[in-house]
Amino acid sequence: MNNKNLSTNPQAAGIAGGKRGGTSIFACSLTLLLENFKLYWYIPLLSFVAYFFGGIFPIITHRENIDDYSGFLTNSFANYNVAYLPLLVFVPLIASVTVMNFYHRQDRAIALHSQPLSKSRIFNSQILSGWLMCALPLLLTALLYLCFMTECNVYTVTEYDNFYSGSPAAQSVNIYTAANIARWLGSTSAMMTFFYGLYTLAGALVGTGIMQVLLSGVFFGACPMILFIAQGYCQEFLRGYSGMSQTAENLMIGANPAVQIISNFGEMLSLKLCLIYLAAGVLALVLARLAYGKAKLEKVGDSMMFRTLEELITWLISFVGATACGMIFYYLLSETLPTLLLGVFVGLLATYFVVKIIIAKSVKVFTKRNLISLGIAALICLLFLAVTVFDLTGYHKRVPAESRITGVYAADLSPDGNNAYLGLPAALRAENQLITDPVAIEKVRKLHKLCVELSKNEMQLSALRRSGIMKPEAFPDGKIPEIYKNSTDNAGNLIADSMSYVTCRFHYQLQNGKSFKRSFTCFLTDEAAELITELQAMPVYQDTLTLGDKLKALDVLSISANVERYYIDDGTVDTEDPTVGEEYEADAPEVMYQDSDYDSFVLTNKDAEKVYGLIEAMDQDIREQNFYQNFLTYRLREDRYTLGYVDVSFTTQTSLDRESFNQNPGSWDSPMPLAASRTSVTNLPAGNHYSFGFDISKSDKHTLAYLADLGYSIGYGN
Amino acid sequence: MLQLDLKSRKSIYEQVMDQLKEQIMTGQMATGEKLPSVRELSKSITVNPNTVQKAYRELERQGYVYTTSGVGTFVADRSEIHADLPALQKAQENLDDAFRQLLFLGIGYEKAKNLTMQIIERRRPDHDKN
């Protein structure tokens, strides 16, 4: 062995990386590995047994009718399984706490470090032992899956699809394949490594097993929790907040594999995400090794190994406790600012000192040092509140300069908050259409600035909303705008309810390629209402709402529609296909829907031009809408009630989902969808399948006329 | 061989020294006889080898033994022994003290003297007895 004399400066010898006294950083001791397995063989065994009964046994016992278990199998492969998911979370914890005992029990630590084993060797051997304890059951389970592999089919075409597209019989996909087993093994190993790394890092930062469990819990929940709380505060208090950015949402869900699995509902994770987890896990282990190298071993047995880290983690937990408590007080007691602040204050004190007591293992924590530290935690909370509640950064006031804007997405400004067309694929939705006309952009900016002004008396507006009564003080010039003159209840009182305000969503495309988003929910002023009307009257704006021309520009393979109408059965309505059924619309006056029925007829692909004609009629009705008039007469209009509903299905060659619902990068990009049984992703010869719908009300004159021309009149006995 | 008295107030070192000196002076070990090596002696009486080593060196310094390196330690000619002055004085003091103790017992001077002579006679070296 290398017996070179090291310098007598221990710091230098300790810091020099790579070879120390002749051993490399990758050194491992087979001896220690074996001893760990001799001592803790029951951990991988029990884990394997759990995997067996949780996932393999049901498959083995139902091999004859395995197709019935296709859902169970696909879920299992995604770890969306009642046994697999907890195992994924907890087995690495148990393994990590077990092998980290070399660092958490003083007698063991002294003994091991006195033996001819370098720190690297000890660490690598222990950590590898633990990892193997987690990995072996997975490997065995995968092997068993292979052994019992048999064809298990998922049917990917439903009757509904068949009927409307006129395609041949059902198609199926075998999901019980070696490829999928390999995917399960790979993704589960990656996530297991992530958790194992995380828990081990927690273990390296603390001095006892219990603290490792606690800190692991903190690490486990910290990221999603903080984002969730921040989101809650912004949503409630930050004027102009338009929702979590996609990155933030991805982070909130993706930061924790368990959360990601649950939010995927049985779809496997993407390869990219698995690699990220794997890399993160390995990084955590490297950090753990560094922490262990730096740690002062005389602190083994103390709660925390590093003073600064103790403070940081205390601040983190205190922050979460304070902000969470603030929200709890706010919602449970009274939704006012003082209550919120009280909650934050109480939460901060309670959480801070409880954490300190747990760490110190005694109640003597009211020291000067801790009080200073508490002050810093308070500062952090204050900073957070300043940004979110008090908006010290002026978030809500910012409107991008004209020169920086390349385009604006159509804001959703209709009075009842929905576009005419519901359920459109992303590429066709109004809010995803970019308007580049400078006049329109300028109007949007003007509206934006108005909203900023109107949001100033946010607290009063909230109070107004809650009170339900319209008050002049809530408006800038102290007068109730004209637009609300018909907002009266039966007794003639001016009311403020959910129909009294509008949510204006602003989404700009900037020159540097970034998006700028804000969202304001405000009561209108006449000026604002007029501005919205002007905007919606512009052809460029209307083009974003209409659908006919967009559909015609696509490569639509087939299209069909199902038209439903509601009527009062007084014998005057001509029905083609009387279908017995009763539909009641909840918010309509009772008298309207007594004895009402609905019937429907279908336009198949053979009548494609009629479908287009119907849509174009609706487009025309959309163009003729006048925001101001609608809003003014909203409560008076009988004709806002739904007379009928149209459900359109179509198939295109290209995908319209680029910015789809599931923007979370969590899905496998695989030609063999595992979640096929749940979504109606089809395996038709070609194409992507979509559907959307729209209501027909009395004011939709063109649509009603078109239907009448088809021989299908809608109306109450008209 | 050497017998150590574990209960004695004398340190191990002193006991080893005394016993070796006794063996040499009473002729139990002849002139030129080889003493056991430090290792052997320390193992046989369960004593720190350094202590034994030290004892040997001190004996050599006082002239009881001599060392030939590589060969061993041997009993020296008794005539080579030079009395260590402090040791001599200490021995005299001890004798004095011992006799005083005897007198304190109240047996009278003559009785004490006779007892003492008996002891002295017993310690006459073998080769001196006629």
């Binding site: 221990p10 006294g21 001896t31 007698d107 001819p116 | 202590t51």
Partner: protein, 234 residues
Amino acid sequence: MIKIEHVTKYFEDYPVLNDLSLTVPKGSIYGLMGLNGAGKTTLLRHLSGFLRQNSGSISIDGQDITDNEALKRQVLFIPDELFFFRGYSMTEMSRYYRKLYPRWNEARFEEMTRDFGLDPKANIGKFSKGMKKQAAFCLAMAAMPDYLLLDEPVDGLDPIVRHKLRRYLMDDVADREMTVLVSSHNAKEMEDICNYIGILAKGKMVFEGDLLELLPTSLEELFIEKLGGEPREQ
């Protein structure tokens, strides 16, 4: 030789070892004495490679022991709190030690185990405290170390066992020039087996020297003189 020069170690803000210097000559049996809290155990933990000092140098055979596997094969530490793998018997522990220590002497191990009357197949966890200590000695000494570090080794052992241990220790010191560093409160015991002594107080060395040169002063007297209080007997 063990050489410790101007070593300081802080626990939080308190200097547990305060500019401590100490030399243990090769082949000697060095007694480390001091009152409770003087730093004896801390010092031994540094020598075994568990702790690292803040400043100063510690060398064994001219080398730093930190992460030094080659050196650690020759330095064995028997701490005050013993550790054995859970449920292991002496035979199982010996199999583990054999893989770690190249000089492992199975014959010596079996001889000592028999001599102490220990059952090699029994679970060490069930042994009494004294028997555990004996087991620790069997393991440590069968590894034939150059350096043996002992923290309160004879605490709780009966005189017969102590005598046996002493014999094994002396044999090794005599045969192989093994160096022993012992920390203890028991002045009489130390006096009998050590030839070198170091007295620690508050992390500093207050007296170091050859025991044999002290004579006729007893170790106990020295202890009292240097530390100004009653030394603790066993």
